[in-house]
Every structure is written in C-alpha cells, then in structure tokens.
C-alpha cells in the first residue's frame, strides 16, 4: 500500500537535493549554512518516522539555530536571461503549459480514482491520504513529462528547485512550524484560557452582542493562532453553544457554518497564516512582508461584517 510515507520520501529526496546543490556551489558564501539547513530538514522527512520524538525535536531545533545564528544565503542569480527565455517560450509555445497543468490534472484524477484500486485485497493507497499522495504522484509525472519534453541536463530540476527554495528560504518551513505551535498551544490549554477571558470582560446581554462577539472573536482568535481550526472549538465551546444556541435559542448549524467562515476572514489578515500570507510574498518576490495581507484586509473586514449580518439575520429564525 502506498502511504503518506511515500510523500515524505519525495520531500526528503528533494530537500537533500537542494542541500547538495548548495554544498557544491562554490560561489555561494553561505553554502554550508544553507546545506545544513535543508539537509536537516531532509532528515525530518526521511528519518522522522523512525527517530524518537526527542531526536526529532533536536533536529528541528538545530535547523532553526543554523538559520538564526549562521543566517541563510539568498538564491543564486537566474542562469538564463530574459531574452533567452522569451526565445525559448516562442519555440515551445503553449506546450510549456502541459507539464504545469499536469500537476492539477493528475492530482484530480488520482484523488478520484486511486481509492478504487486494490492488490490482493490490500488497497493501493491509504484512502485517508489520497489527495496528498495524488499530489505527490502528480509532481513526479509532471517532472517526467517536463524532462522528456525539454531534455535539460539531469541535474537541472534540482538546480532549479534549489534556486526557488533558497528564494523562499526559511518561509518554506514556517507554515509547518506554526502547525507545531498550534499543537503545543493545545497541549498547554491556551484555548480555554482565552475563552474565559472573553467571557469575563465582554458584556453579553443582547443577541446582537453575542453574535458579534462570536464572529469577531472567531476572527481575532484566528488572527492570533493563524488558523480558524484552532479558534473554532474554543470560541464555540465558550460562546457559540452556551450563549447563541442555549441562551438565545439559535440554530446550531448556521452558528457553526457562519462561525467558521468568520474565522477565515481572520486568516486573511494575519501573518500567522504563513502559508497563505507570507509564503506568496517570498514566492512573488515582493519587498514588503505584509503586501498580501494589506490587499486582503478590506475584503476581510467587509466580509466579517457581512458574516455577522448573515448570522444575526438567520440564526434566530
């Protein structure tokens, strides 16, 4: 059976490749730091499932120390010039889109079909992880298609992966680190403490005040935690269920559904949601860390107001 370990191996091999390309690049002043950073990251993928929790923790801390103390180097300059790339674009035409669009196409196909196959009664893939496994497979298929079409040197994909990974740099690891932070918050019981503070300090006598506290609280708590999934259980146990549903007789489905999307409004406005808001800044080479958040804030606020109105209008019907 193909499990999520397959994806871990792919990630590990890629990160190891990025580390090796860095190590061999004599023009880079920080090549040892970058190689250590990506190399340690590769270890968490290739050996993470077999090492003890404590060892994994040490590897991750070492990774962060390399970055914090040694600093990481930036990406190398692009090997091709714009004129070269334009000539290549004219030569290949729209065929260039084929490998790129293979990724979503194969992911979709795999997600829809892979679950059905089994060998001697054992399913071919772990059904719970089918989307991620399909995504992993699709990148392999796309890479093979790209290599067959363009016929670059064999090391080209790793050289390019290194150029892009070093451009994104530490931001590539931030979303995962935030997920780990969320788990530590849960361990320490951060949620209930926050809910009790809100209950103590905000006057909740009218239905509108309760609804607004719940939706805005969802957004604010999401801004702090970076994730609406972390905010939802806390706010719903603290305010949604006891006040909106029990005290004011609101509909539990509408409360929950609109509450969750109110949290998503918060996701639009926080650097803690790094994979949505900070990673694209690095990927698109934007100068200001908050460039994407700035664009999203007006939509986030207006939509939060809309959500509050929707919930108030329908939840007590």
């Amino acid at each position: 059976m193909i499990t999520f370990e397959f994806v871990n191996v792919l990630m590990g091999l890629m990160m190891a490749g990025v580390a090796i390309v860095n190590l061999r690049d004599r023009t880079s002043a920080k090549r040892y730091n970058n190689a250590a950073f990506w190399g340690l990251y590769a270890v968490t993928f290739l050996a993470g499932s077999f090492l003890s929790d404590f060892m994994n923790g040490l590897v991750v801390i070492a990774m962060v120390l390399v970055m914090a103390i040694g600093k990481l180097g930036g990406p190398p300059p692009e090997a091709s010039t714009r004129v070269q790339r334009e000539a290549s674009a004219a030569k290949w035409g729209n065929r260039l889109f084929i490998p790129a669009l293979t990724i979503p196409a194969v992911t979709l196909l795999g997600t829809l079909t892979l679950k059905r196959f089994s060998i001697n009664g054992t399913p071919l893939v772990d059904a719970k992880q089918v989307t991620l496994i399909s995504l992993g497979l699709s990148t392999v298929v796309a890479l093979i298609a790209g290599m067959l079409m363009l016929r670059p040197p064999l090391r080209a994909p790793m050289v390019e992966a290194r150029r892009l990974m070093d451009a994104v740099s530490w931001a590539a690891v931030l979303p995962q680190m935030l997920a780990a932070l969320g788990a530590m918050f849960a361990l320490a019981g951060v949620g209930p403490v926050v809910a009790s503070i809100i209950e103590r300090w905000i006057p909740l006598h009218t239905a509108l005040a309760v609804v607004a506290t719940y939706t805005i609280g969802m957004a604010l708590f999401t801004i702090i935690m970076g994730n609406a999934f972390a905010a939802f259980p806390v706010m719903t146990a603290g305010i949604g269920l006891p006040l909106i549903v029990h005290q004011f007789g609101g509909n539990v489905v509408i409360m929950a559904a609109v509450g969750m999307v109110s949290g998503f409004c918060g996701t639009l406005m926080t650097p803690m949601a790094a994979n949505f808001n900070i990673v694209p800044v690095a990927l698109l080479e934007l100068p200001s860390e908050n460039a994407v958040i700035k664009v999203q804030i007006p939509t986030g606020i207006l939509l939060l107001a809309a959500n509050t109105a929707i919930m108030y209008a329908f939840v007590f019907r």
Partner: protein, 228 residues
C-alpha cells in the same frame, strides 16, 4: 494565564521584527515549558508536533518542475498568451480566476490552485501582462501591487469556496466537534450555510477587482502627466 506566554512571545517577537521562524519556535518551546513539562518532554512534544505536520509543506514538491519550466520560458509564455487577448484587463482576469477558484474549491478540487503551482508561474505574470498591454511598462510599485492581488485572489477563492464542499477538513472538524458536544448535524446542511458567505465574498472582492482596474488606469494617467 501562564499558558498565554507563548502568544506574548509571538506578539513581542513579531513587533520587534525578529525572524518569524525563530519567534514561532521559541513560542512553541516556551508554551511547552509553561505547561509544567520537563525540557526533555517539551523537546519531544515539539519534535512530534513538527513531524506530525509534515503534510503541510507538500506543495513544495511542485518546485523542481515549475523551476524547470520557468527556465524554459513558462512565465514569458503566459505573458504572450494574455497579450493577444485585448479584452483582458488585470481586474477581469483576476475576477475570472476568483470565480474559477471558488467553483473548483466548492467541488472539492482545492489542489487546482495554489501559490507555487498556479499563481507564481501563471496567474501573476498574466495579471501583470494584462496591465502592460494597456499601460505599457509598469513601475515596480504597480507590479508588486498586482502580484499581491494575484496571491490574494487565490486565498479568497479557496477559503470561501472550499466550505461548500461536504468532505473538506473544516466541515469535518465542525461536525466532529458538535458531535462531541451532543449535536448531530448533517455535513450537507453545514455546506449549504456556507453559500451566503461565498456569494458575499465574490461580490465584495469582485467589486474591489473592478475598482483595481480603475485605480490602475488612474495611476497610469497620473504617471504620464508629469512626464509630458
């Protein structure tokens, strides 16, 4: 109050502009210590939490092939395609992508978009090219603004589309949580009540994209005048 010390670390660290990865790591370790665990236990819990979250960075697997295609002119090709479509404006193009992203996410196809696979190589260069068609060479500031909008559209389309799909993580989380609290709810009814917000999101952000076109036009005219 002690468990909140991690949040404090995050807020102070971000405010002092310390590297975010360092800040978040420190916050995670401090939070563990605040829960009265021994350092060895904290490091182990942290290691487990990090390794358990390895599904988060999977999108990076697209980079080898995207980088390969970029060096063969993928972004330049995306620009060429848009430059032939004269009706294309930045706002209209992003509006079309917003609709597509919301609809496909609502069908559960959340992996059809994404910043590394779609926005960097295709959507952002197309949105820039659409503005170049109309206004010529763009100042860098405008270029950055358009790119940020391209990234935002991908997020907004995803967030306010995916909740309409019944088997997505957020719906499963809501259902599981309410089940534990003694309420049985149908995923389909939760998905149904995500639709009003999805419509509002499209109207609000769609309007802003139409206004973006106007603001780009005003900016281009404003830039021409002092030169003349």
């Amino acid at each position: 109050m002690l468990p909140l010390i991690g949040i404090l670390v995050v807020i102070v660290g971000f405010a002092l502009r310390v590297n975010p990865l360092t800040v978040v790591t420190a916050a995670a370790l401090v939070t563990g210590l605040a829960a009265h665990r021994s350092p060895v236990e904290v490091i182990a819990a942290f290691g487990k939490a990090f390794v358990d979250s390895r599904s988060v960075p999977v999108v990076w697997l697209a980079l080898p092939v995207i980088g390969l295609l970029e060096s063969a002119g993928l972004k330049e090709r995306a620009r060429m395609v848009i430059s032939r479509i004269h009706a294309a404006t930045t706002g209209r193009l992003l509006l079309a992508y917003l609709a597509l992203r919301q609809l496909t996410s609502a069908l559960g196809l959340t992996s059809l978009g994404g910043h590394p696979q779609m926005v960097r190589p295709l959507v952002a260069p197309m949105a820039e090219a659409a503005a170049e068609n109309r206004f010529g060479e763009l100042p860098e500031r405008t270029r950055f603004r358009i790119r940020a909008h391209a990234a935002a559209v991908d997020n907004i389309g995803l967030f306010f589309g995916e909740d309409i799909f019944i088997a997505i993580g957020s719906i499963l989380l809501i259902r599981g949580f309410l089940e534990q609290s003694g309420y049985h709810v149908e995923p389909a009814s939760l998905a149904l009540w995500a639709i009003p917000t999805a419509v509002c999101a499209f109207i609000i952000h769609g309007t802003r994209l139409v206004l973006l076109d106007r603001s780009l036009e005003a900016e281009a005219k404003g830039a021409e005048r002092p030169r003349a």
